[in-house]
């Protein structure tokens, strides 16, 4: 069990700055993030994009801003649980929270700060009504273990790198049969991979269906057939053991949506006095919260983090008085 003062869910800019502001109040923090590295969207999606509205930085690359924030937080020795998604929480008798991740790691603290940004990036699921009936019963959105497909019939959908790469890999002696279905004739993936797929299609190792789309799934408890619509010759069916729809990732609120927090427009409602949620002890800051006048800006998230830790301090030490100290007067004393 990892114990700390503030569990921060989300290691993006807002979560990282929370470590600094909490540290000034002698509060320790532990960050949890579903991505394998800190920085959130800024490192995962746009590390090379310049940001122009961080006060004091006329221009800063997103990746560099994260490097600076990590350095700023460093004296306060934050803990990290990376590559694990927060799944659930429970309240203990002494008024603390235990947060559990997808890998079962447990974290305990009197305060939880949700700085989850857009949420977790989850696989984009095709809009087929009964698709959920066959999830993990023949339909998988990510390949966990390629050997799982040994000797099986596999259909892959998508036109990007993961669809191409897995088609090539599974068709090289792993699966019994690989069919790649793509909506158009052109592929967006790496040119080498595209050429390889075309070559393997020509030699019969991969069955390639372009201008085609899976529009229905059926089976008896487990996936048996896919209904496929082809522009050239209309609807048809394909018998298969597995279907891998690989359409990339999109941000979703994920398990946090079921925590009993008040949600509006996929965001967590907060009180702007201290960015507290409807659950005492749980706060939400940055892009994931919503309140009248909300602006999804990094600089607003920094402000929210700063006010939030004041309230967290009072919750953790109700009897201690605190007076704001300037870093220019006292400097920064780490742990």
């Amino acid at each position: 069990m990892i114990e700390t003062d503030i569990i921060i869910i989300g290691a993006g800019p807002c979560g990282l700055f929370t470590v600094f502001e909490a540290g000034l109040l002698k509060l320790r923090c532990h960050l949890i993030d579903a991505l394998p590295q800190a920085g959130g969207q800024l490192t995962e999606i746009y590390p090379k994009k310049p940001i122009y509205d961080i006060p004091g930085f006329p221009e800063v690359l997103a990746g560099d801003l994260i490097t600076h924030l990590m350095k700023q937080a460093e004296p306060f020795k934050p803990g990290f649980t990376l590559g694990e998604r927060c799944e659930s929480f429970e309240k203990t008798d002494d008024g603390k929270f235990i947060v559990k991740t997808s890998k079962g790691t447990l974290h305990k603290a009197p305060v939880v700060a949700i700085a989850g940004g857009l949420g977790c990036f989850e696989p984009r699921k095709p809009p087929i009504n009964n698709i959920a009936d066959f999830e993990d019963k023949g339909i998988e959105y990510i390949v966990r273990d390629p050997n799982f497909y040994k000797g099986k019939k596999v259909v892959i959908s998508g036109g990007g790198d993961s669809a191409l790469d897995w088609s090539i890999f599974l068709a090289n002696g792993v699966a019994e049969e690989v069919t790649l279905i793509h909506r158009s004739k052109s592929f967006r993936g790496h040119p080498d991979s595209v050429q390889k797929v075309l070559d393997m299609s020509a030699s019969g190792k991969i069955k390639l269906l372009t201008d085609a789309e899976v529009i229905g799934v059926s089976g008896n408890g487990v996936l048996k057939t896919l209904q496929v619509d082809r522009q050239s010759d209309g609807p048809g069916v394909i018998e298969t053991d597995h279907w891998l729809p690989l359409f990339g990732l999109s941000p979703k609120l994920g398990p946090l949506a079921d925590w009993g927090l008040n949600i509006d427009k996929n965001s967590i409602e907060v009180n702007t006095f201290d960015y507290s949620t409807n659950i005492p002890g749980i706060y939400a800051i940055g892009d994931i919260n919503i309140y009248p006048g909300k602006l999804k800006l990094i600089l607003c998230g920094f402000h929210e983090a700063t006010l939030m830790v004041q309230s967290a301090f009072k919750r953790i030490y109700p009897d201690k008085n605190y007076v704001l100290k300037y870093t220019t007067v006292n400097g920064v004393t780490g742990f």
Partner: protein, 108 residues
């Protein structure tokens, strides 16, 4: 009026909304829809990284070519047609007066 063009947005229920769009505010179609509180999420904020502003172009206006980012995103989105575009990549300018678009279904 100067710096104002008219744009028609057909929502997912088929209702037409006639919008006055400023061309001097550096806005795009995603932002225009949001400013009129039409059901467009624009989750990624306009970086062509989600498809929540996916729309179909119904009029014959000439639009700038799709960037690689937009092509890649539309390749992964659902309900994509020949006239699909991401609203966030269509910047409002005077030549787009009379543009008519339809919001695509939300998928995935």
């Amino acid at each position: 009026m100067e710096n104002i063009i008219n744009i028609t947005v057909v929502d997912r229920e088929g209702k037409e909304h006639n919008l006055e769009a400023p061309t001097d505010m550096n806005m795009n179609m995603m932002e225009l829809c949001k400013s009129y509180e039409l059901p467009v999420e624009g989750t990624c904020g306009g970086m062509a990284m989600c498809a929540t502003c996916h729309m179909y172009i119904l009029s014959e206006h000439e639009l700038p070519e799709k960037s690689d980012d937009e092509e890649a995103m539309l390749d992964q989105a659902f309900f994509v047609r020949g006239n699909s575009r991401l609203g966030c990549q269509i910047h409002l300018r005077d030549e787009l007066d009379g543009l008519k678009v339809q919001l695509a279904e939300v998928g995935g």
